[in-house]
Symmetry: C2
Subunit: 333 residues, 2 copies
């Protein structure tokens, strides 16, 4: 008998989630049935959508999320003992996975081989955040070499990849982030300019950084900063909306207000499209193949913010919601 632990959300979040909103439940796993595998979880992901999606579930619910683990026992010959797998089984240390179960976020799959790099990339640059950055930028923003690309949440898991991919594609890249450490890192990895969104007169700062206007905007934050950026876009500019982290901790019935977008939308003939990454699930591996190529050639440098220990997953989660992470936040069990 294997003992497992998992985080259960037992109280609806109000504002920033509190430690007491979660309960760590310990329980015994049953024996495996045909088509099942026993996974020892090695890496757990914490991401902003865990906050944003919380209202979609009825309390209590097991905290969902991506994870990388090792198959320790198997009743599915496609996943023999020793296989590394990625699944959406959330914040737990051991889990039984029915390999035929269909999950809208991702059914279990083998971790892509990322020679010389940490397996944790499977929930980061070579996981959902990588696919979000790749497809959001390439399929929605469709940047052309020489164009100016702006990304908010630029030092986060997705934003930092977006900026680097846009550089690989020959664009000028401007990122917004919230600390001097983050700005310094962004310029180190090739961003042409990084701007502190907590600073004064963001409109003037952007105008100086992007004197020819903005062609593509990858939006992770929403709100007034997005209105400022969208107002500096060029004709036929494209906006991919990946997240709205500026409002995730708000009461959803009280959406914050910001300067309206319609005048810029009309006069610049802009296109804005929101997306959830699972829309590209069926070709996620195409993105991962490209990303692994760039990572191994050194063109793309994924950075991770590593927390340690099952007990600290909550702290890691709070950290990303408060913007403390630089790069992708992951928890090593």
């Amino acid at each position: 008998m294997v003992k497992a632990r998992k985080y259960v959300v037992k109280k609806a979040f109000e504002g920033l989630p509190k430690r007491e909103d979660f309960e760590i439940v310990e329980y015994e796993l049953p024996s495996l049935k045909n088509g099942e595998i026993l996974v020892k979880v090695e890496w757990v992901s914490v991401d902003p959508y865990m906050r944003a999606y919380s209202t979609q579930f009825s309390i209590p619910y097991d905290q969902f999320g991506y994870q990388v683990g090792l198959v320790e026992d198997s009743k599915d010959p496609k996943f023999p003992v020793g296989t590394k797998v990625v699944s959406h089984k959330g914040w737990c240390d051991y889990v039984i996975i029915d390999t035929n179960e269909v999950d809208p976020f991702c059914s279990v799959y083998k971790l892509p081989e990322i020679k010389g790099f940490s397996d944790s990339l499977g929930v980061g640059a070579v996981g959902m955040p990588g696919a979000a950055a790749y497809f959001g930028l390439m399929d929605i923003c469709k940047p052309k070499a020489g164009e100016t690309v702006v990304v908010t949440g630029a030092a986060g898991a997705v934003g930092s990849l977006v900026g680097q991919i846009a550089k690989i594609k020959g664009c000028k890249v401007i990122g917004f982030a919230g600390s001097e450490e983050k700005l310094k890192w962004l310029e180190e990895i090739g961003f042409d300019k990084a701007i502190n969104y907590k600073g004064a007169n963001l409109s003037a700062a952007l105008k100086e950084a992007a004197p020819k206007g903005v062609d593509c905007y990858f939006d992770n934050v929403g709100g007034e900063l997005s209105s400022i950026i969208i107002n500096q876009m060029n004709d036929f500019g494209r906006v991919a909306v990946c997240g709205s982290s500026s409002s995730y901790n708000e009461d959803p019935s009280k959406t914050p207000k910001a300067s309206i977008l319609q005048p810029a939308l009309v006069f610049k003939q802009l296109k804005i499209e929101g997306f959830l990454t699972w829309r590209w699930l069926y070709r996620q591996s195409d993105a991962h193949t490209e990303l692994i190529k760039w990572i191994q050639s050194g063109e793309l440098k994924p950075r991770e913010h590593i927390y340690e220990g099952f007990e600290n997953i909550y702290d890691a989660f709070l950290g990303i919601l408060k913007g403390e992470n630089v790069g992708k936040a992951v928890v090593k069990l």
Copy 2:
């Protein structure tokens, strides 16, 4: 020598344009050169973009706009005397047009034949507003039969066509307008429901009218009403932004605020696109051919709000900015 009159904008608009912002200038037209035609203007159009675009021009400028006129003298065999023409020569009673001049809004062209209907449709249902409604709806919203389409500014020149085209395409149509007379007319011409945007609890009213959610939204107004509608859209909903009339009389440096769109954009994976009708200029006649067919079969009923007299163009313009018109506002000279 022909004496002509034209409206010149001599003072930048602040808020609602004032009569004193215009000057009526009387002058003598020179004799025709080769490639020119003398047009006696019969119908002048007044449209919201005349307010919205005013900041793009330096004062003084001749008031631009669509017009239908009769060729009274011609030095271009393609446009013989007696031809009816459409041009973007604005608020004047006589004008000389160089037929080879390229105008981004539209170069002069022959009025399409609209048997049994007024020539004024050439600046309305069979002019720019018709093309805006047709392409904005068909190319951007892409409505499918059975879907729910919402249109704001529904009793206006463009909105009233959008709703009727969506009905022809088999959709359920809900319109927002600002007077009981307008609501009554919209339901007469086939809208499934018309809602007064000045009423209370618009969100509940829309939920009742569109219990299955909104698939397409044709936005003429922007602002909070648009945020309310966009928040009730279904997954993969499409929004065409044609105008932002709720903000046209505002100081452009003080864009009004409304509830942010990013959460709905992401979680419903919505697409919002703004457009200016000239992007479809090269295939405008395709739209007009369809529209004429529907008008002549009686499926589409264009309504006009007719003002009379050159001196009253300003009043007609003020009327549309205050929402007094039902259907397309035109001025008969």
